[in-house]
Amino acid sequence: MIAGLGTGFLSNILILFFIYSLVLLPSAALISYCDRKLSARLQARVGPHRTGFLGMLQPFADLLKLLQKRSAWDWSWEDSVWGSFQAMAVYASLAALPLGSALLMDTEMSSFLPFFSALVLALGSLLLGLNQATIAGWLGGIRVVGQVFSGVFPAFIAFLCVGIHTGGFRWKLLASAQGFYPWSWTCLTSPFQLIAFLVFIISGLIILGLPPLEGSQFPSEIDGGVVSHLSGRRWLLFQLSKFYGFLSWSMVTVVLFLGAWSLPDALVQVLEAMEAKILVSLMEFFWLMSKTFVVMLAVIWIASANPRSRVDQMTDFAWRVLSPFALVALMGAALWESWVVF
């Protein structure tokens, strides 16, 4: 075997490829289908059900149609710069995902990566906006950046509270501190952690824009902001980058607060005894993904039921309300750890 690499390295690579190609990338189609059917049910109507059985093939029809759109103007070098930058942002948000105990490269700072991928996404939107000649593009790009910075600050502090509780920022450490049953999840261990959990969810929504998967049916700005210049494949790439940002943010939320991939201990011992390591990692992954999907659909449902507030109202809310709560949660978590020894 290659020196220094564990025996399971090749099997890990195989499982990682299987997970990325068959579960993570198509999850965009699954979530967009569930989102359209769920929001249709909420609005007392029937979602797409003419394409394929119960409309299952609707996302694939949309994908194939978008790939066929020929852009009316030729591909200039600004677009290629933006295209490569956005592809890098998508890779960044997907590369740093906590996928299960046996599969990841775990370093001391590995759980900081999703924040930097969110910032890279915001920078991508800003560059896209400024590169367009339209006013809507400029204003949209600047608004996105203001929105993301106001969201990242309280989220980062809430993330530190979890670090205090678990004593480190490794994914393994964060996951092993939480058990399978809800009362052992970090968000329910102390009231301050609960505040940190709520602050993390809401600031995540502010980063990704409320509602997160904002279709271009009713744009927030008058002219659709950053999306106004895009069409066809570029629009698809931009929407996918927003979707995978939302997917990685929900995964991080599940890992930090909602009991990551920890299965019941009895089940783990039995499987360990049977030397079925790959089965354990797969079950852990699917347990993590099911919780992530539940979080995503709940967030979409809550966000789409309420009217949307203006961008400056969102940023005011983030600075004036979320940040103080995050700081209070930080101090509380620190005191809780030092005084209350369990």
Binding site: R45, T51, W235
Partner: protein, 155 residues
């Protein structure tokens, strides 16, 4: 071994099926017919069952639903609106005003109201003033069949 023509035809049929099953539409209207298109978005005549999602920007839409009168002043703007859509694009024309048959088109056409077919190529006409929502849905189904090139299967 099946000939290359077989693969080309199945691929083109698949692409045509994809184009027909996800027509994202944007509508320009004067009044009565534009209200009917707004009602189509509702729950009784849900257009999203056919995969038609309303878009706000012509760049992201591929079906233009034109309705109402096109006066001389508005015809150049309608042309620019249609040109800014990306190919492949389709046009569904609603109502009688669109092909010059409604109450406002006099013999001598006093205010130079124009027919939409003089300005942009139209794929499907829907009669009625204003056409009933079921008629508009039938128009969309015929457009889907036209894109697919044959009678539409339930698939």
């Amino acid at each position: 071994m099946l000939g290359a023509r077989f693969y080309a035809s199945t691929l083109s049929r698949l692409l045509a099926w994809a184009r027909s099953r996800s027509l994202w539409y944007v509508y320009t209207g004067s009044g009565c017919c534009a209200d009917e298109v707004m009602n189509l978005m509702g729950c009784r005549y849900d257009l999203e069952r056919f995969g038609c999602v309303p878009q706000s920007d012509p760049k992201q839409a591929d079906l233009l639903i034109v309705s109402g009168l096109v006066s001389e002043k508005a015809s150049s703007h309608l042309k620019d609106f249609y040109e800014s859509m990306l190919t492949p694009r389709y046009v569904l024309a609603l109502g009688a005003c669109v092909n010059g048959a409604s109450a406002f088109y006099q013999e001598a056409n006093f205010f130079k109201l124009q027919k939409v077919s003089q300005i942009i190529p139209v794929d499907v006409y829907v009669p009625g003033c204003p056409p009933r929502p079921e008629a508009i849905m039938n128009g969309i189904i015929t457009l889907q069949e036209k894109i697919c090139g044959q009678a539409s299967t339930s698939f």
